[in-house]
Amino acid sequence: MSRRSHDRTLRVAFIAIPVLFVAIASLQMRIDAQTAESGTQQDELIFTSGAMLKKMSLGYDSLLADVYWTRTIQYYGSRIGTHHAKFDLLYPLLDVTTTLDPNLVAAYRFGAIFLSEPAPIGAGRTDLAVQLVKKGIAANPGDWALYSDLGFLYYWRLKDYPDAAAAYFEGSKNPAAPTWMRLMAARVAEKGGSIDTSRMIWQQMYDSTTNPKIRKWLRTQLDGLTALDDEIHLNELAEEYRKRVGRYPISTREMREAGLLPGIPVDPAGYPYVIGYDGKAHLAPESPVQEPKQ
């Protein structure tokens, strides 16, 4: 009989410690689940301005900016797809991030898209998006991409073609800016809300983004635009059909048989378009493609 009492402590500890760890982890999971579910974000963020945080961070501001940028992406990623998809904290998070590190361009670009995008994908606050991008431009005057983002916001969200043209024009003044920016400025001023112009702008956003998740989402927008374009085209052909036959076609097959189409047109997801009673082309109900909101 050796080492009785001391070994007993060890044995009890040996069992108790893993059990306790498991209990703690479960409790933490429960806490996290309830925080997410109730939607109450207990982040002190709501109440602390970026300027205050910057002072408190004692020189570690760029590190803290990274922390908040990660939190932003976390925040967005955890809410998208849930039924609590309200993004009240998106702007404050981005604002703090960019106050701590004004050169974190990715944050401005992210905000340009997802602050302005209406629910359930984004915060639906184009005004805040514009405010953020302007802040970004002020801190990063040499970054032409931000001007293109501003142009996007004015053009697509606000339908403010003169301001959009102005933004593209300002950006094009940057010697590093690509040539299409000046063309874009001219085109927007001239052609306003045409689908082609919109296409160009979305395509531009898509090409200049490296973030894979954003690219994926932009792709869907582009596909939606392509669908819109196709639908307009099909509508014109349907009118032609009516002129010839006296009624609207009931399907694209009829249009093909009439020689108006070379084949059965499909949307970017591969689903054939359907023609409605009013002769207007629509996406097939099963198709995942969606027209972009404006």
Binding site: T9, L10, L20, I46, G77
Partner: protein
Amino acid sequence: MSALTAMPAVVAVNTFREAVRDRVLYNLIFFAFLMMGAAILVGQISIGIERLVIINLGLSAISAFGLVMAIFIGVGLVSKEIEKRTLYSLLAKPIRRWEFIAGKFGGLLLTLIVNTSVMTLGVLLALVYVGHPYNPYAKEVVIAVYFILLSLALVTALALFFSCFSSPMLSTLFTLGIYITGVFSEDIRGFGEVTNNKLLLAVTRVIYYMIPNFHNFNAIAIASHGQAIPFRQVWQNSLYALLYVVLILFAASAVFSRRNLK
């Protein structure tokens, strides 16, 4: 007094006495000056956010002072007794090693509770001074302070654990390191989730659940804006702190129970 807590209580009271005689509680004087200065300054400016500033400053100071105390006294709790050999005669008494550990923890916790309570009173007094005699946020302030105490208990347990086998300097580093990691543990997990590296994801997740999550206990901004703290959170945090403290004390007892004193 139950048989289980009799010995630890004796050690706890003595540990408290040592802290008092070490003039640790003198930090309250400094805190008093701080709160007075803040109250006067803020009272002069009077831009409508006096309550906010007093609560934010007061609670942050309580947390910071408490943290310093918990770490600096905590890391010496056991190592100092071994160094100074005061443990020799103590362990010859009918006290078990784990009872000694529990007592040391209790004593420092008691010190922190006393210290924090006095400070909280100071904050509430400062609030009265700046013109909010009826403070509708008093309940939230008290709950926020309670949460701070819970986090201090955790830090104390950690410091005590390291004190069982490591020098004060190293113990300070380890404890501080774990505390800071614990404050940002959610962000660490976040980092892991935004990378596409499965290994990093697993590692950060393990870290998240194993390191104490100190972010749970931060309710300072909530209190200063008078937002209600749900009761569910109070008992969850209490349970969390309890489980974790018990775990760390088990570990400390296990380590200490096998230690050969030089």
